[in-house]
């Protein structure tokens, strides 16, 4: 294993390196600066932009990093990972902006140093989740992400809710990653390998005990499922989302979910799919029936998410459940196990990033004014804060999946994929679910517009920057609703992950 090969590998993980360096810088800056450091946010944004630049560089790139003798690659770099990394970067930037403009975080501003350190840690972890191709590396990165997010969830030290959230997150997360590790160990025992690429042939021709293998796979899925909060591994989600500071919630609901999905997809595609037929349908080997499994999980997830959301009286909690439901839709798209399905997943994620961040952003802005996330405190917001009201309406409509918003495109591709694979039952279940989802989304609208504003309802005063931030999410949501070529092009180009 020669040095230039090593350098070549380093060259492939430029973004990760950048992230790490900035992590270090942040620590140092925090060390040598006074308590409240207002430079840090900008600095971190800068760091993320640089990272973003290097991520974009990786589009169209194909490479295996740290390939050891028997072609075990630790990291694989391709446009697929680039896509998800850019999602992570984008959401991190919005995460910072949210933090800066959220009142509830103000008490923590004397600890910004740790905050951004943790964030960079998370980003690093997620990057490796996205492009890692060895179970151990994946496990470690999952843990890295988890550890940082435990702390972040409890970052508002003095708030009971926050710290409770962190405890629950911790116990739950630790358990599931433990299960995952145990699963990995079994796989290791069965195949003598933990490398995704290596597993593939081994699994194809495996005469290994399929029951053990399945058990192991379920355990591993427990680890991933908890990251993407798929039923039945979702229980932490509502509590943590509600308890954690809103920016963190938003971040978890988008970034770590994205990483989780990337990991899941890579796992399935790389280690279980031998080849695909002419229509782009993946031929998965029968040793583990991913399709049925994912269908069951996705149906359970979307249904539970939507129906449990019906009753929520706290907007954040409601959005938590809705994000579970959306995970369900994504899983449904994945369950098709075809390139069309994969495109649908990517498109949906791009859209989901915009609308979900937007929704949380508005929740933050409104809380800044009203100091509450309870549904009842939203009465008449539509009239006292028309701009926020209207934008929220747009995001909610998009989340429901109605034209002319980007959400519709996501749904459209999802259903195209399903119908294309003749999975009509799943399609109809998903459709009915989206009808149910209308109930609770529209409940918010009803409170904002149909209820009469409580007197002394605060006026809406947004700084120019806040407007810009909001617009930067509203405009694309509407734009992609009527002209969606860019997203789809991007998604299509990004599904070529390494191998097959």
């Amino acid at each position: 294993m020669s040095i230039e090969y090593f350098l070549n590998s380093l060259y492939l993980i430029k973004p990760e390196i950048v992230v790490t360096t900035f992590l270090v810088f942040v620590v140092l800056l925090d060390l040598f600066s006074n308590k409240r450091n207002n430079l840090l946010p900008f600095f971190s944004i800068l760091g993320l932009l640089v990272t973003g630049y290097f991520v974009l560089e990786q589009f169209g790139l194909k490479g295996l990093a740290f390939v050891t003798s028997d072609s075990r690659a630790m990291v694989s770099v391709d446009s697929f990972s680039a896509f998800f990394k850019s999602i992570v970067v984008l959401s991190s930037i919005y995460f910072i902006l949210m933090t800066v403009y959220s009142k509830e975080m103000e008490e923590t501003f004397d600890r910004t140093g740790e905050y951004y350190t943790l964030m960079f840690g998370m980003v690093l972890g997620m990057f490796f989740m996205i492009s890692g191709s060895d179970l151990i590396l994946l496990y470690l990165s999952v843990e890295l992400v988890s550890l940082s997010s435990y702390v972040m969830a409890g970052f508002a030290k003095n708030s009971e809710k926050s710290s409770e959230a962190s405890l629950k997150y911790l116990i739950y997360g630790a358990l599931s990653s433990g299960l995952m590790l145990f699963g990995i160990s079994l796989i290791y025992g069965l195949t003598a390998s933990t490398n995704l690429y290596e597993l593939n042939p081994l699994l194809i021709v495996s005469e290994a005990n399929s029951f053990i293998l399945m058990f192991a796979m379920l355990l591993i899925f427990a680890g991933i499922g908890y990251k993407i909060s798929a039923v039945p591994f979702h229980f932490w989600t509502p509590d943590v989302y509600e308890g954690a500071p809103t920016p963190v919630t938003a971040y978890l609901s988008v970034a770590s979910k994205a990483a989780g999905f990337a990991l899941l997809i890579r796992l399935i595609k790389v280690s279980f799919i031998a080849e695909k037929d002419t229509f782009g349908f993946w031929i998965y080997n029968p040793i583990f029936n991913w399709q049925d499994f994912l269908v069951i999980i996705s149906v359970a997830t979307m249904t539970l998410g939507n129906f449990a959301a019906l009753w929520q009286k706290n907007v954040k909690r409601m959005l938590a459940y809705s994000s579970i439901a959306h995970a369900g839709y994504l899983l449904a798209a994945l369950a098709v196990l075809s390139d069309t399905g994969l495109v649908a997943v990517l498109v949906y994620f791009a859209v989901y990033l915009l609308m979900n961040l937007g929704a949380f952003l508005i929740v933050i802005f409104i809380k800044n004014k009203t100091g509450s996330e309870e549904l009842d405190s939203y009465d008449g917001i539509g009239f006292s804060m028309p701009f926020l009201g209207v934008s929220f309406t747009i995001f909610l409509v998009s989340l429901t999946g109605l034209p002319p918003t980007a959400g519709f495109i996501g749904k459209l591709y999802l259903f195209i994929a399903l119908v294309d694979a003749k999975m009509f039952v799943l399609a109809i279940i998903a459709l009915l679910n989206s009808v149910v989802s209308l109930y609770y989304y529209i409940r918010i609208l009803k409170h904002m517009f149909l209820a009469k504003p409580s007197e002394n309802s605060p006026k809406e005063e947004l700084s120019a920057v806040q407007f810009i931030i909001l617009f930067s999410l509203v405009i694309p949501v509407l734009l992609f609703g009527v002209y969606f070529s860019p997203i789809v092009e991007l998604a299509k180009n990004s599904i070529l992950l390494l191998g097959f």
């Binding site: 195209i416 459709l431 009808v435 109930y439 517009f449 599904i495």
Partner: protein
């Protein structure tokens, strides 16, 4: 004339108006109102222009060449990754004899409705912004020839409608609004499913000879375009096509509304403000039947031919059932709402006949019902504004108090019960003649004629209860029509009488298209054959 993008203009003008309104300051209501009025007025003018330049000889339906004012250019084009197939969606507008009358209708009704919303008090700005958005949605549905575009316009209407009912409506507005929203959404998801199914089973041949999946309605009407292994291809032995037809049909039937999906209508109408009731009954209901004519019929001709009996049957149920329900109502507005259910039944009956008389009758009935019901709801609104009650038994003897008003009411009512010389008669007669001509649904037609009788029953009874008899002293303060109300009623009255005396004004407009449709439905079943029936 073809150079000017008339259809885009008439469709998106309201959006422009809406944006202008959004930038106007809250307080100057006059400007907002007059702006809206101007926009809708221009729409009417455009409508007239379109009518003026419309070529009666062209058929339309399935042949792009014979559509008019066509605007078509590539809207979405995704062709990067070859093995996934390219996606091409057109921005494709055009009208034929089926949609042209409905465009005129929409223009007129929206204009009238703007006048009707003059007495909106709270948050004018939002109201008219939403109103204009709704307007665009409606126009768009009638001009779109690309299924994807059609669906977007179809969905755009939901939210404005929800708010317009929900914010400016009556006491139980929230209930009515959500009910409307959920129902229509439930319908449209089925449409979406069927749409995707169609998209995935038919291809369009491009200039370069390559084939791509298509949302183009006209291409979807051509049996050759269906790929052999397509989900909904006629060659597909499964009867998925039947299910797709039903999905679409239910989706549209909810809008019509067809029994038993009609229950949202009375609530929505009773709670909605006058102008919105006018729009709802005047235009929105027509979208259901229009959708069936535009999509179900030509895309599933063989199934259509199988199911006409059922369509006719449900038409009959609507007619009789709606009339009987209306007979028992105590609330003026609810009564009118149920009468709409009954009258839309005639449309379905006419469509079921699959011959020119019936279908023309149906389309004409759409137009006439639009104008007449608009009149009726305006009438209800007028009395409600003055008396703040709609109870039929609270009134009596208004004829002396408000003679002119009574005059208009009489015209509207008699138009509604199909008195000759007024527009309602012609369409109903055509529907009956056409439907009776078909062996299989003759009995249904004969039973449906009872609708005429019951119609006379409830309308005249209402007339008597509200206007005849001794004047209830409580109402001795009500004054007769204002100028604005004249402005609303007179144009409609003129239309109603004009079409009653000389229906060719509309019939000629739609005739060739209807014939094309009928011929298409006659011939195409063979080409679409190969189904397990």
């Amino acid at each position: 004339m073809q150079q000017v993008p008339l259809l885009s203009l008439i469709t998106f003008l309201p959006i422009i108006g809406m944006i202008l309104i959004l930038f106007l300051p809250k307080n100057n209501e006059k400007v907002i109102k007059s702006l809206t009025l101007a926009v809708t007025g221009i729409q009417v003018l455009l409508g007239i222009v379109i009518w003026r330049f419309y070529d009666y000889s062209l058929g339309g339906i399935y042949n792009q060449a014979s559509f008019q004012f066509v605007e078509k250019f590539r809207w979405i084009e995704i062709s990067s990754v070859s093995w996934l197939g390219t996606i091409k969606i057109d921005y494709f507008l055009g009208i034929d004899g089926i949609s042209a009358p409905l465009i005129l209708l929409t223009a007129v009704i929206t204009f009238i409705a703007t006048l009707a919303s003059w007495n909106i008090k709270t948050s004018i700005k939002g109201y008219f912004a939403l109103f204009l958005l709704l307007d665009t949605g409606m126009m768009g549905v009638f001009v779109a020839l690309d299924f994807f575009l059609f669906y977007i316009f179809w969905e755009i209407m939901l939210l404005p409608m929800y708010f317009l009912i929900g914010i400016w409506g009556g006491p139980r507005k929230e209930y009515a609004a959500i009910k409307f929203f959920i129902y229509t959404l439930l319908g449209s998801v089925f449409i979406l499913l069927a749409m995707i199914g169609l998209y995935l089973s038919a291809t369009e041949t491009l200039a370069d000879g390559s084939k791509v999946f298509t949302f183009n309605m006209l291409q979807l009407m051509n049996a050759e375009n269906y790929t052999a292994d397509g989900i909904l291809s006629p060659l597909n032995p499964s009867n998925l096509r039947l299910w797709a037809f039903l999905a679409l049909f239910v989706g549209f039937a909810i809008k019509i509304p067809m029994f038993p999906f009609h229950t949202w209508l009375p609530d929505a109408h009773v709670e909605a403000p006058t102008a919105i009731s006018v729009i709802l009954a005047g235009v929105l209901l027509k979208m259901g039947t229009y959708g069936i004519l535009r999509i179900n019929y030509p895309m599933f001709p063989e199934i259509t031919n199988q199911l006409v009996w059922w369509i006719a049957l449900f038409g009959m149920i609507n007619i009789i059932y709606g009339a009987l329900c209306a007979l028992a109502q105590k609330d003026f507005k609810k009564l009118i709402a149920y009468s709409s259910v009954s009258h839309m039944g005639f449309v379905m009956l006419g469509m079921a006949s699959l011959n020119t008389a019936g279908v023309s009758g149906a389309v004409l009935q759409m137009f006439n019902h639009g104008t007449i019901t608009a009149m009726l709801f305006i009438i209800v609104g007028i009395i409600y504004d003055r008396a703040h009650t709609r109870g039929l038994d609270d009134f009596g003897g208004l004829a002396n108090q408000m003679p002119v008003y009574t005059g208009f009411v009489t015209i509207a009512f008699f138009a509604a019960i199909g008195l000759p010389g007024l527009s309602g008669f012609i369409s109903e007669t055509f529907v009956f003649l056409g439907a009776f001509h078909v062996e299989s649904i003759r009995l249904i037609t004969v039973i449906s004629t009872l609708g005429i009788l019951l119609g006379a029953g409830y309308m005249l009874w209402t007339l008597q209860r509200i206007f005849l008899g001794q004047l209830n002293p409580k109402w001795s303060a009500l004054e007769d029509l204002t100028a604005r109300e004249y402005a609303m009623l007179i144009p409609l009255t003129i239309i109603v009488i004009a079409l009653g005396v000389y229906p060719s004004l509309m019939l000629d407009l739609m005739n060739s298209s209807v014939n094309t449709m009928v011929n298409f439905l006659l011939k195409s079943p063979e080409t679409f054959s190969g189904l397990p029936f």
